[in-house]
Subunit: 291 residues, 2 copies
């Protein structure tokens, strides 16, 4: 069975491991803190490649948009060092090096071995510090003209209320993310020190104010999904990322299906796990060898 050496390069950690053609992790998971320089990042990649000579392909899931040729990062990536987008990943190995955006890769893992398996059309939302998006259409990852499709920066308001990390205002990400939950909590409570943990803890013990904060946040997610459902008419939505565990997918699904003009859709939690980025990019990389 063919195997990929898969990396996940994020703003805080770089992971790597071996993933086989069935999407199974077939080795230890190596973890490193993301270093501050390009050279140190390259060193981690080179070390992983040297340790694993018997793989068929190198597969990288990374923060940032990746081009349609799956060779390099094309967007700026706030949490990675300057010049990250200039890395020529192919130079790191004589084997094929395949690169994909981490959210896109995770959505592919959900499609191949997770909760959107069998869904020809699906939209994955990773609810974490930010919001990532991955779109599968007609059984293929949808990348757009340059490779950067699936950015969940559509507007929740049209009149400039809350600044988003992207520099614009009122993007879905600025409301539906963990950061968005904190900002909603600040607005409702007036407390600038409040954390997402405070909200979740309050929700668990039935605190009315924290419940209101949480429901406001979850409603933003619902409203965003309604729009995406009408645009894409997808078989399902997959919610993953660290914040997804707290949402009531059944309630969201009911609310979405009561409002959309397209046919009913499903809202599911992701099941491909914490390493879905590595699994997805490995599966895409292994499939690309067959081309």
């Amino acid at each position: 069975m063919k195997k990929a050496l898969a990396f996940d390069i994020g703003g805080t950690k770089i992971y790597y491991t071996i993933v086989n053609e069935q999407g199974e992790i077939d080795g230890d998971i190596k973890k490193n803190s993301t270093p501050k320089t390009i050279d140190e990042i390259k060193s981690i990649l080179e070390k992983g490649i040297a340790e694993n000579p018997d793989v068929d392909v190198i597969a990288i899931a990374t923060a940032g948009a990746v081009n349609n040729e799956n060779t390099r990062v094309i967007s700026s990536t706030g949490n990675l060092p300057d010049g990250y987008r200039n890395i020529d990943f192919q130079k790191l190995s004589d084997k094929k090096v395949f690169v994909e955006n981490d959210a896109n890769a995770a959505s592919w893992a959900e499609y191949k071995i997770g909760s959107s398996k069998g869904c020809a059309n699906s939209v994955m939302l990773t609810l974490g510090t930010g919001v990532g998006g991955g779109i599968i259409l007609n059984n293929k990852l949808y990348k757009g003209k340059s490779g950067s499709a699936g950015e969940m920066h559509f507007k929740m308001y049209p009149d400039k209320r809350r600044k988003c990390t992207c520099g614009a205002y009122d993007c879905f990400e600025a409301y539906a993310s963990g950061t968005g939950l904190k900002l909603t909590a600040e607005e409702i409570t007036g407390n600038k020190e409040i954390t997402t943990y405070d909200v979740i803890d309050g929700l668990k013990v039935g605190c009315p104010e924290m419940t209101k904060v949480f429901k406001t946040w979850q409603n933003h997610i619902t409203q965003g999904i309604i729009g995406l459902a009408n645009i894409f008419d997808p078989d399902c939505f997959v919610l993953s990322g660290s914040m997804a565990q707290f949402v009531d997918t059944q309630k969201i699904e009911e609310d979405v299906n009561s409002e959309i003009v397209t046919s009913p859709t499903r809202v599911k939690l992701g099941t491909a796990g914490n390493y879905s980025g590595m699994i997805g990019t490995a599966l895409l990389a292994l499939e690309s060898l067959e081309g």
Copy 2:
């Protein structure tokens, strides 16, 4: 050269004509008011089919969502008689009868002979009494799981302000349509009798209040396009429909490109003309014969 008999069935008019493989209209345009009963609608179709025995296919562009098999309408269509969705169009002729949603068909006409020609990925918005949408991805019409994708009912606000014709609140259609312009004018002026003509006339003579109304409306269009650009990373947007002539596409394009996180896109006026629905469905129908 092969030819299609093409119909456009809308809430107020039913048109039909002959369209050839190059997307050229090759006959008179016949016009009928849309009758109030299913039988009368069928009679118009049967009359058109009887008049044109020498075509290769019957192509219908219609209001309402159409299934992925291109055989029948699957949504309710407010402006057409009850039971319209039950019409079995194939029974009207021994030749193949091909059906597509009117906005989808028009977007295909723009792609084949109009302003999105050469764009692998594009989103068309028809700005009329309502807002229609047509999405071309990877050089194909994107229809979703049931055929009803491309409904431009994503939210402008998350908190229930303006009711949309779809029954939900605050959809893009409720702001970006001609109806949306009238409602925005009502809100800003307090005058319930104001019309879209009043706004356009006021804009033309530099009336500050009407200019404010118009800019608010155009900003809603811009904000919606920003979201769609980040989601789809398309080569271009095409604006068509009766209201499109009034918008400043250059200004919208500049504003969109200054905010999106994906790569720059284009915003263009449609050029496939008033009969783009018939042209698009004819071209799709003729292509389907080759399959």
